[in-house]
């Protein structure tokens, strides 16, 4: 395979390159370059301004000893675990909406609205809903004689409060993906099973879920990544006001932000980001490993 043969066989190489150039450049400038410079910084002590000094693994050893880092990872893990409950919820809702006939579009729009809403606006609105004294949630709870809590001011509840919003925010996009998956399931399978006497529940668990499993898997992967990267809710709901629950409610990305942009420790912040990247990679690899046992590629 000499080069002359190759170019003779592929006259469009130049054009091809031209067409991929915008995407490639974007990828290099916006992903590859920042990634490499973050990796480099994680081995350096980077003051806010002025020259960085190489410190080897210092940032990583300090990070391993830092209780705040472990707490943040714990918070992120808890948040992710709860938000994952939104996946089965989305599967059930997607199946129900599919049955809804003409009202389908209305439901889809309703569930999709949070996706197109600015997270900042969502955070502001939920902060009012969660307000311990004047919030809507506690007001509604009081109808049932339930004493509410300070949902986003009490560190015991903040992560759960965020996760509820996280599920709600992610639902719309999950429903779209799962809805598309549902439409790809041949109607004939349902008809055949109905003839064999399968009821709705049975069809759901033995046809819908297995045939939808590739979409469910995809949604799960996206949900885990998005959940591990949660930042905006905590920023809007806790930082913009002087909230004392913030100290115990930090997620890993929030901690990264705080180290790198509030406390001028960019090297340390970069190390946190790299560790997060590794955690996300492991979590994703693990899911790909596990999917073999439950995802069904018809």
């Amino acid at each position: 395979m000499t080069s002359s043969v190759k170019s003779a066989n592929r006259p469009g190489v130049g054009w091809a390159l031209l067409f991929v150039a915008p995407a490639t450049l974007g990828l290099v400038a916006l992903y590859l370059w920042p990634f490499l410079s973050t990796l480099l910084k994680s081995f350096q002590d980077v003051p806010a301004f002025g020259p960085a000094t190489y410190v080897g693994l210092d940032n990583y050893t300090e990070l391993a000893r830092d209780g705040a880092v472990w707490q943040a990872f714990g918070n992120s893990a808890l948040y992710t675990a709860i938000v994952l409950l939104g996946v089965p919820l989305a599967v059930v809702l997607a199946a129900l909406i599919e049955q809804a006939g003409r009202g389908r579009t209305v439901y889809r729009v309703l569930f999709f609205l949070p996706v197109v809403t600015l997270p900042v606006a969502i955070g502001m609105v939920w902060r009012f809903i969660y307000n311990g004294d004047f919030g809507l949630l506690n007001y509604v709870l009081s109808w049932f004689g339930i004493d509410g809590h300070y949902w986003v001011a009490d560190p015991r509840f903040t992560i759960y409060a965020f996760a509820a919003v996280g599920i709600w925010m992610g639902l719309g996009i999950n429903l779209i993906i799962l809805g598309a998956g549902l439409q790809a399931i041949p109607k004939a399978v349902y008809e055949a099973s109905a003839l064999d006497g399968a009821g709705r529940m049975r069809q759901f668990f033995h046809i819908t879920v297995p045939l939808l499993s590739p979409s469910i898997f995809f949604v799960t992967i996206l949900t885990v990544i998005a959940a591990l990267q949660m930042f905006d809710l905590i920023f809007i709901m806790l930082r913009s006001v002087n909230n004392t629950a913030l100290a115990d409610s930090k997620t890993i990305v929030y901690l990264f932000y705080e180290k790198a942009f509030v406390q001028f420790q960019q090297g340390y912040g970069a190390a946190v980001a790299i560790v997060l990247l590794i955690v996300i990679m492991i979590a994703t690899a693990l899911q790909f490993r596990l999917q073999r046992s439950w995802v069904f590629y018809g």
Partner: protein, 420 residues
């Protein structure tokens, strides 16, 4: 394959150089050249006055256009830091004492020492506590814009309703505690005072009033656990314990100043900078006034002020210095005072500020200069200040003795200071 990669790299390289080819050429020092400077701040309340100052400057310097940028407070410092590190920072911007050292040390700020000399700026016209905090290794990097001291903002209507006499300069700590208790009416959802974990408006002042020092004079260690500091912290935890303040959780959900504005708390220790906001709030008309902070072992308040600084990487350093000198001068101060925006730092320009809001005894803040102490800064101030809520909250919530929480906070602060 090799060819594909080489070609791709060639394309990439061409495009990249093409992209970076423009811009970057520093403006020649041609005085008639049209120049645009950006001026960043974080206050919607003050933005109109900043626009007015910029317009006034443009009148004198028709070739320079000043664009005022108002950023939200939670994003201000990260935006500024990224901009300064990446070469895209605004030309002029507001600075605070606790962030100043990192910027000055990192060479991000334009040196104004020579400008001060050539423009004949009298540094003694500013409160010394403020101008000192913008000097680094003997060089001046920012000119004081305004300053603030603290007082007791109080709601006269709530005092009248509870039959408690208004605070005045005879008040000591005990009077505040007693009044706060009497003013509290839980059935009505009214508390005597707001006692959040607030350093500048709160416990720094009481620690100093008790005779404490917060940061030891050489800047290498803190003093939060000494008997004076503990007394200063107890002032606030006592208020919490007596139920005279909304709880920490309530104050996290709804900020102290919002509680004060919605007339849920009768007293709020804070700075002069709220005057305009309270003045503009129609619900508070005729109900609010201000008194000096109470006396502990002695009188004390922390003071700080915003400084106007410039970016060392500005493309128009000469015009920028001119603008900063203007910002530090009497005209800019007078505009701030006359609009009631803030208490300007320039000596002798404060009267219009007092006159702009005659319903408040604003002289209180000016008188406080005599016993004011600079806001403590040492090491990475943003880092150790950020730890306060975490360590002090258990004391505020009564879950831990104040002595113990203070001791732990002191240890954590000293660890940060030891890193320098």
């Amino acid at each position: 394959m090799r060819h594909t990669w080489t070609a791709a790299l060639a394309v990439a390289a061409t495009l990249l150089t093409a992209c970076s080819g423009g811009g970057e050429t520093p403006g020649a020092a041609n005085p008639a050249e049209k120049v645009t400077l950006t001026y960043a701040n974080w206050s919607e309340d003050q933005a109109p006055a900043m626009e007015q100052i910029a317009a006034e400057f443009q009148k004198e310097n028709p070739n320079i256009t000043v664009k005022v940028q108002t950023l939200p407070w939670p994003e201000y410092w990260s935006t500024l830091q990224v901009g300064a590190a990446g070469g895209t920072a605004p030309d002029a911007f507001w600075m605070l004492a606790d962030h100043f050292r990192e910027y000055a040390k990192g060479g991000a700020l334009i040196d104004l020492s020579d400008t001060v000399k050539t423009a004949g700026i009298d540094m003694t016209a500013y409160p010394k506590a403020v101008s000192d905090s913008y000097t680094y290794e003997g060089r001046i990097f920012a000119l004081p814009k305004d300053f603030d001291t603290n007082g007791i903002w109080y709601n006269k209507a709530l005092f009248d309703a509870a039959g408690v006499s208004y605070p005045d300069d005879t008040w000591g700590w005990q009077q505040v505690q007693d009044a706060a208790k009497k003013l509290t009416d839980k059935a009505k959802g009214v508390w005597g005072i707001a006692a959040p974990i607030d350093a500048q408006g709160g416990y720094y002042n009481t620690i100093l009033q008790a005779g404490g020092s917060i940061i030891k004079p050489d800047g290498t260690a803190s003093d939060f656990a000494g008997p004076e500091a503990v007394a200063g912290l107890k002032f606030w935890t006592d208020l919490q314990e007596a139920g005279s303040s909304p709880t920490l959780k309530q104050l996290s959900d709804t900020e102290a100043v919002s509680m004060f504005e919605s007339q849920k708390v009768a007293m709020y220790f804070s700075g002069a900078y709220w005057a305009l906001r309270f003045h503009n709030n129609a619900d508070l008309k005729g109900k609010v006034d201000v008194a000096p902070l109470p006396q502990g072992v002695k009188r004390a308040t922390v003071t700080s002020g915003i400084g106007n600084a410039g970016y060392a990487g500005s493309k128009h350093p000469e015009e920028l210095k001119k603008f900063l000198a203007f910002l530090g001068g009497t005209k800019a101060a007078e505009i701030q005072a006359a609009t009631g925006t803030v208490l300007p730092a320039y000596k002798g320009t404060q009267q219009p500020w007092l006159d702009a809001m005659p319903e408040f005894k604003l002289q209180v803040f000016l008188d406080a200069v005599d016993y004011s102490v600079p806001l403590p800064v040492a090491g990475n101030t943003a880092e150790w200040q950020g730890l306060a809520a975490q360590y002090l909250a258990p004391a505020w919530e009564g879950a831990k003795p104040v002595e113990e929480a203070a001791e732990e906070y002191q240890t954590a602060v000293d660890q940060v200071l030891a890193k320098q």
